[in-house]
């Protein structure tokens, strides 16, 4: 049982607060991604969990025990680095064997030749060799064991780094942007492989990335970090469909979400572009909020649609068509996802009307917090005298 707990961790570098009180519980065998833009503190948090960096305050617990006083080596965690960090002077087999040698062999047994001369060392070395082969077999890098890292491709190096991490069966794996040095095709392939590896090992994974696609495709849960805080931690589906904060909605998206200014009246009635919407919100004060509409939440409509503009740009991806619509009263263009069959109606410059599904509309207050209490209001609602 190796659940990880991060309890109210803060970190200051000189005058800047990098982490402002982060708490997160990770269950045994769970795959959690820390995702956020660069500088949000996700890598720092991972290094604090690893023990490579000391937190300013707060606690890290592994299997219920505080590990704050333990060195990185004694926390029984493995880490895979963005640059792979393989020892350039050692062969692949020796690279993978290093963590085992440092743990299983005594200082004396680690001396050159000692492994061969001491009987105890010989047995231990044979076991290490066996384990290295098992790890290499799992990652299909057996044929590379005698090469040096310099002779390997990026993807192969990545596997060796994974092998070095998994050979000693750690309490948890920490992965720091392990895919960002790979080319796009290999990244997709390795993504699937890491997810499979997680399923096979049933180990706890903490995965840091700035790429929300990686987070969405691999994780059990995603923790979205911004400005040194976790804004939301939930399953990928919840994060996408039901974000707590406008920043989460904007960060987690394949195509940029449309953010439209919306007026909230005293009674909660919403007005978009000076038009009364068939929506109202409960429990929010008067002000200007934001309406988040994903491109797939919009659909083409007739003259009477709430949003009207004309097409200024088209991106045809084959299976789907993304259309940018310029709306007179808005600074930013509105993006719509359309079916390829609708291509004809969406020529450059042609006027379009857009409406949206109220169930898929995400409303945020002026500070970016999500307002969930939406109610339909009907245009034909009789006025109370």
């Amino acid at each position: 049982m190796t659940e990880l707990s991060i309890v109210n961790v803060t970190k200051r570098f000189d005058e800047t607060d990098v982490l402002k009180g982060v708490s997160l519980d990770i269950a045994d065998g769970e795959f959690v991604s820390l995702v956020g833009p660069s500088g949000c503190g996700k890598s720092t948090l991972l290094r604090i969990i690893a023990g490579l960096e000391a937190q300013t305050s707060g606690d890290i617990r592994i299997a219920g025990q505080s590990v704050v006083d333990r060195r990185a080596a004694d926390r029984n965690l493995s880490m895979v680095f963005q640059s792979y960090a393989l020892y350039p002077h050692l062969s692949v087999a020796d690279n993978i064997a290093v963590p085992l040698k440092m743990r299983r062999l005594s200082r004396l047994q680690r001396l050159p030749l000692a492994a061969r001369l001491l009987p105890s060392g010989r047995a231990a070395s044979r076991k290490i060799e066996y384990d290295v082969h098992q790890a290499a077999k799992m990652l299909e890098i057996e044929h590379l064991l005698n090469r040096k890292p310099g002779q390997l491709s990026g993807g192969q190096r990545q596997r060796v780094a994974l092998g070095r991490a998994l050979v000693r069966e750690p309490a948890a794996f920490l992965l720091d942007e392990p895919l960002s040095n790979l080319d796009a095709k290999l990244r997709v392939q390795t993504r699937a492989e890491i997810a499979q590896l997680h399923r096979r090992l049933r180990a706890t994974f903490v995965y840091v990335t700035h790429d929300q696609v990686e987070a969405m495709t691999m994780s059990d849960r995603i923790a979205v970090m911004m400005g040194g805080r976790i804004l939301q931690c939930a399953t990928p589906e919840t994060i996408y469909e039901d974000p707590d904060h406008i920043d989460v909605a904007e960060f987690i998206c394949a195509h940029k979400i449309n953010i439209l200014p919306v007026e909230i009246a005293d009674d909660g009635q919403l007005h978009l572009l000076d038009r009364r919407l068939e929506l109202s919100v409960v429990g929010a004060g008067r002000g200007v909020g934001s309406l988040g509409l994903r491109p797939e939440a919009l659909r083409l409509a007739g003259e009477n649609a709430p949003i009207r503009g004309h097409v200024v740009h088209r991106e045809n991806l084959g299976a789907e068509l993304f259309v940018q619509v310029e709306v007179a009263a808005l600074k930013e263009r509105v993006t719509l996802r359309a079916n390829p069959e609708q291509r004809r109606a969406l020529q450059l410059g042609s006027p379009v009307g857009l409406e949206f599904d109220p169930a898929k509309a995400l409303l945020f207050d002026p500070h970016g917090k999500r307002l969930r209490q939406l109610r339909p209001t009907f245009a034909a609602k009789p006025e109370v005298a």
């Binding site: 990185a72 080596a73 880490m79 640059s83 020892y87 350039p88 290093v98």
Partner: protein, 320 residues
């Protein structure tokens, strides 16, 4: 004729300036004293048989020798026997100038002993320098601690101090400790090389932090990181430093001259040159240059053998 001929001309002139002293050294080591003095005989000299006057005067027969030799020359006068003996001595003491110079170099002074001393001293200096400089450079490059910048500032400051300025105080310290005329006096003052620390620190700065973090995750302590991770990646830089260190201390004449005063067993190769310094009877340039050639040869041979690695080390291109 290419348009760049003038570049080659400049390079050739430069080469002549650099090569000329070596040319003279090697050439003198081949020639007889007369040829050296008169400046004749080309590069190799004429290699005519020459007579070592000193050897002859040492063998000059006295009354006892003549009495002993009288049986070999029956019925001759003492004068005739003396002349015959001197002629024998002359033929025994005559040899080719090359042979003369090089045998002189090894016989007049225990040059072999000096060479071994030189190896012992330079190798110990380099090994201890590496043992000190690598951890120091690692700490200065990769560890965060209070006062790190100040310590590095001191390292840079020490780079500016010339050896000769502190030679006298160093000598006094060693004398007070009773260490003059020992190997320790030749080695100890050089064991902390600020240049080595500086050079290795600059190299370690280029080693990615991830590599060190990975080693920590794998269970290595800080010293294990220095010897098992930093040292193997720093081999090119360490080789570059080895060149500087070994060349400087192998060729050093100044410091051994100061701390080794009486005991010839401790002489390093450059001190061997002093053996042929002219006293009353003129300088022995031939044997002196033969000694110099012998001293320089190991360095040149080592350079030629390891030329590729050396240049790699100096340009620090071995690391990706």
């Amino acid at each position: 004729m290419t348009r760049d001929w003038w570049k080659h001309l400049i390079l050739i002139l430069g080469m002549i300036v650099v090569i000329a002293p070596f040319y003279l050294m090697v050439s003198y080591s081949f020639k007889s004293p007369g040829e050296i003095e008169r400046g004749e005989g080309g590069f190799f000299g004429r290699q005519e048989l020459m007579v070592d006057e000193r050897c002859v005067s040492l063998r000059a027969p006295d009354r006892k020798d003549i009495a002993a030799a009288s049986q070999r020359f029956p019925g001759q006068t003492e004068n005739a026997i003396r002349t015959a003996l001197i002629a024998e001595a002359k033929s025994a003491c005559s040899m080719r100038p090359v042979v003369f110079n090089y045998t002189k170099a090894f016989s007049e002074a225990p040059l072999l002993r000096y060479l071994l001393n030189g190896i012992a001293v330079t190798v110990s200096i380099f090994l201890i320098q590496a043992v000190v400089a690598l951890p120091a450079a690692y700490a200065l490059a990769k560890l965060k601690f209070w006062g790190r910048e100040a310590v590095f500032g001191l390292v840079l400051f020490c780079l500016l101090i010339p050896v000769h300025a502190i030679a006298l105080p160093l000598y006094i310290i060693l004398a007070k400790l009773g260490l003059t005329n020992t190997y320790a006096a030749l080695v100890v003052p050089w064991t902390i090389s600020v240049f080595g620390i500086f050079l290795m620190r600059q190299f370690f700065m280029t080693v990615p932090d991830d590599l060190i973090d990975a080693a920590r995750m794998d269970g290595m302590g800080e010293f294990a990181i220095v010897w098992r991770v930093m040292l193997p990646t720093a081999i090119p830089a360490l080789l570059a430093f080895a060149i500087f260190s070994i060349v400087a201390h192998w060729n050093d004449y100044f410091w051994p001259r100061i701390v080794v005063t009486g005991n010839r067993d401790l002489f390093t190769p450059p001190l061997g040159l002093r053996e042929f310094k002219g006293d009353g009877d003129g300088s022995y340039f031939g044997p002196m240059m033969a000694t110099a050639t012998v001293i320089v040869t190991p360095l040149i041979v080592a350079f030629l053998l390891a030329q590729k690695r050396f240049i790699e080390g100096i340009t620090l291109s071995g690391m990706k």
